[in-house]
Amino acid sequence: MELLLQTITNATYAASYMALIAVGLVLIFGVMGVINFAHGELYMAGAYSVVYLYTDLKMPFFLAVAAGLIFVGLLGLVMERALFRPLRDNPLGGLIASIGFLLILQTVAVLGFGVRMEHVPPSTQEKIFLTEGVVLTVQRLYVIVATVVLLGGLWLFLRKSKFGWALRACAQDPEAAALQGISLNHTARLAMFIGAALAGVAGALTAPLVSPTPHMGHAVIVTAFIIIIVGGIGSLEGAVIAAVLYAFVHTFVTTFYDGVIANIVGLSLMLAVLVVRPTGLFGAKDRA
């Protein structure tokens, strides 16, 4: 029973950061129609922001996380301007260009920090005992709280604000949105900034928990693909639900078998969804 509750706690933590990453990826795809293959490397860039600012320069942890969020958001803007805007009519080209960008980001991390694993000391040692024998470290709690706050904020932003309406309008029908006087470039920038920043903040917050390496993005992008496919490629709500589902399956299989089997199960789940229901479990008919 303790093991079960502990595993549920761990899965909740995993679901949180996976949801942050996957929602960013879906947002970018929804508005721009491009699969951002470099999304895992944006997560890595967020983690390395914390390595540099918090571990090396001894800045306060949350300041480093905020800086990481903004830095990765700006990286997103660079990608939008340099890659996705010129390739707007060529989504496969955008995907391939993002693979090129991924290689560049990886190399920058290797040159700047070396290929070795970085160790980020935890910003707090505190632990919460949920019940007898079930532990949640405060470091993990930060991730869960940040996810709820950020995704809740994003949801309100998309539903209530004018920018949010414009963003959703572009996702539904870019041409019609442009005819209504919505700037496609502007909304693309906004989506790219938010999407990238979400990946960055996920990386920044989990940096003390995962030991960053320049090649950590690979596992992340595989996970993110599984989630967005299972959740339906254009659906934000679907991505959150699929992240929870996947995190629970993955954590339970990891606990009771091992990590590699868990990855195989996850990928098979995704293949099964692709075969049976290519629109995803919660997917709308069209994108976003």
Partner: protein, 332 residues
């Protein structure tokens, strides 16, 4: 007589090419000869990849198929004692068989979905190699794979451990494979692949079974990819899951795209040009760590400014998007 002179020119060009291929290893250093062997194998990998792209589908699992050939060929010799030349063929056949099985789930998808689906299928295979130590050897892979046996021919004995000799062997095998691939493309089958790429609904309406032809392209491409893997395995003597990961796939993608996939020789040019740049420029500058960045920049620049390889896809991708929702209702 212009026709005759073109023929003559072609013959001369062919002879020059052959002479070049024969003489090439003798002007190179030992380590460059080894690179040359890999280059010849990579030519086969990238050309077989192009066969699949003819049908309009871009796979991210092709390098894993190379790995299937390599693992299978290694296991056939090590566990079952199959002689090496035969086991290479067995490896290629195994890759084709795996592709055959995978086409049932994969070709229910198209476009992006196929891309990601093939990526997932490849990762599953790779994780199986990694997880199941018996017979795949786990993360360390399979070591001490028997090399190609020496040939004793009277006084003449050929040691295939020497890169020059193995190079000649690879050139012959790959040359034959390219010839077959070229004939396939020019045949009725190849034309059907093109038809499926550009007008799959129309092709279906004139009773072309698009699923079968996509499967055929995938199986043939995987067969030759597996053959390339087998050539690789018995030369290097060791295979492991890391050799066939998505990073390698990215390189194959870069070779194909930089060279351009609209012509048969485009990907060959891509792999040759980038290997030369890689070996001569990057190695002499001593900046091996910068290699991925360099490839990334080249990939981005060629997508942005050299759309020859990609322009044909652009319109197709739009059709994918327009068509994908219809297909979903049809298949799901």
């Amino acid at each position: 007589m212009p026709e005759r002179s073109i023929r003559l020119g072609q013959v001369l060009a062919f002879i020059a090419l052959m002479a070049g291929l024969v003489l090439l290893p003798h002007v190179l250093s030992y380590s460059q000869q080894e690179v040359l062997v890999f280059l010849v194998i990579n030519v086969l990998v990238v050309v077989s990849y192009r066969l699949l792209t003819l049908t309009g589908e871009w796979s991210l699992g092709h390098v894993v198929m190379v790995g299937v050939g390599a693992y299978a060929s290694a296991l056939f010799t090590k566990k079952l004692g199959v002689p090496v030349p035969l086991s290479m063929l067995c490896g290629a056949v195994t890759a084709a068989a795996v592709a055959f099985v995978l086409s049932f789930p994969l070709f229910r998808m198209k476009g992006f979905y196929f891309l990601i689906g093939s990526f997932a299928a490849g990762e599953i295979i790779r994780l199986i190699w990694k997880r199941f130590t018996d017979p795949f050897g786990g993360p360390k892979g399979i070591k001490r794979i028997p090399g190609f046996p020496d040939i004793e021919f009277g006084a003449l004995s050929i040691d295939f451990f020497e890169p020059v000799n193995y190079y000649y062997f690879c050139v012959i095998v790959v040359g034959l494979a390219l010839l077959i691939l070229y004939r396939i493309e020019r045949s009725r089958i190849g034309l059907t692949f093109h038809a499926i790429h550009w007008q799959d609904k129309l092709a279906e309406s004139v009773s072309v079974d698009t699923f079968r032809y996509r499967m055929l392209a995938f199986v043939i491409a995987s067969f030759f990819a597996g053959l390339g893997g087998a050539l690789f395995a018995h030369y290097v003597g060791t295979v492991n899951p890391k050799l066939f990961d998505v990073e390698q796939m990215v390189y194959v993608l870069i070779w194909a795209i930089v060279g351009g996939t609209t012509t048969f020789y485009g990907p060959i040019m891509g792999v040759v040009a980038l290997t030369i740049i890689n070996e001569i420029v990057l190695r002499s500058l001593g900046v091996d760590e910068m290699r991925p960045m360099f490839y990334g920049a080249i990939l981005i620049l060629s997508v942005l400014f050299l759309p020859t390889g990609l322009e044909s896809i652009a319109s197709k991708v739009k059709a994918w998007f327009a068509g994908s929702s219809r297909d979903k209702t049809a298949t799901g």
